[in-house]
Symmetry: C2
Subunit: 177 residues, 2 copies
DNA sequence: CTAGAATGCTTTAGGCTTAATCTATTCAAG
DNA sequence: CTTGAATAGATTAAGCCTAAAGCATTCTAG
């Protein structure tokens, strides 16, 4: 029941694949197809990264992201700041930091002027562990995106910026209609 | 500690936002920045959709996705096929179908020639419920992606296709190095 | 026919994520 | 100073998702 219509890679590839966006119907709106493709792409790459992080380093993407953020702030970040940077809820950050603290990769320090707040920082061990992972991670990303020319990279970057800023404009209105 | 260097929207927007990709350092590889932007964009849109589905219809994106897939196959799909289409594990599909069955939106039917397999199909109620949601969903998508011209849509679509096919080539190799 | 492999699905354990709620602390108005 | 609102973080309940293991059925060599 797969479409055999037009564009795309080899026949084998078309048959082998039947993911979320491949079989969008002809009548579907352009925007819908674009969204499905965006979603598929991201999931594909994200899954690839998750697998590699798990197999090579026994860690997960959220843990890696959090450490990656801390690595840019040697003085540490408050929980609130972390949750803002990572675009996740505070409760989520609490859980991930808990694990990393257990593994001695990050530490919670009191925030001098505010007894409510905590400052989270990479430990020395965390910094070292992150360094190794970051180098590998960047190689993986470069490799998985190497199908595009430098020019295409730039164009994709530009278009995504536009999507992002327009979406921000919409989602920041309190209701979404 | 935010970069105040170059491109981007207004100053307020730059300050207000501090998400995952905004503060990538100058030395980071192009590919890394592109990946972070792709991730941010997708998450932004995905979160928007999740919120709308929850607020307007009391449902979730995975449930919507599954029903959306079934809607294209009136004769139903086997669990295996569903998990392939949705790019998730079989166990995951089992759980989501369980819920939808409880809500009488889909039904499991025996597969005639194979007593191991099950065929999952929208019920009449499920089909009606999905119709309403799908119309709203498409409007939301069109709106959130309306910042791009028709030409830009096409270009983004093309570039993502390239990313996707290259990534598929890589992730299909058994190891990722 | 009959092992043994493969397949379709479910179950389990564990991690991620959210919204909502709670506690402690800080801030601001009177 | 005191009261009440706001803020920082943690906790809880529920859903999503995965990898791995398990069960039943089907297929395939011999």
């Amino acid at each position: 029941m797969l479409r055999v219509t037009a564009i795309g890679p080899s026949d084998e590839a078309r048959v082998r694949r039947a993911d979320r966006e491949t079989s969008a119907r002809a009548g579907d709106h352009r925007a819908l197809r674009l969204w499905l493709r965006l979603l598929t792409c991201t999931q594909l790459l994200e899954r690839h990264m998750r697998n590699l992080l798990r197999l090579r380093f026994g860690t997960t993407l959220p843990r890696f992201d959090l450490m990656s953020r801390l690595e840019r702030y040697p003085e540490g970040l408050k929980m609130k700041e972390l949750s803002h940077h990572l675009m996740v809820t505070g409760g989520n950050v609490t859980g991930i930091v808990d694990q990393l603290v257990r593994e001695r990769l990050v530490e919670r320090l009191p925030e001098p002027g505010d007894r409510r707040a905590l400052r989270v920082r990479l430990t020395r061990a965390g910094d070292e562990a992150f360094g190794k992972m970051a180098r590998a991670h960047e190689e993986w990303i470069v490799s998985v995106l190497s199908g595009l020319s430098r020019k295409e990279h730039a164009e994709l970057f530009r278009l995504l910026a536009k999507v992002k800023s327009h979406a921000l404009g919409i989602t920041e209105r309190k209701d979404g209609a």
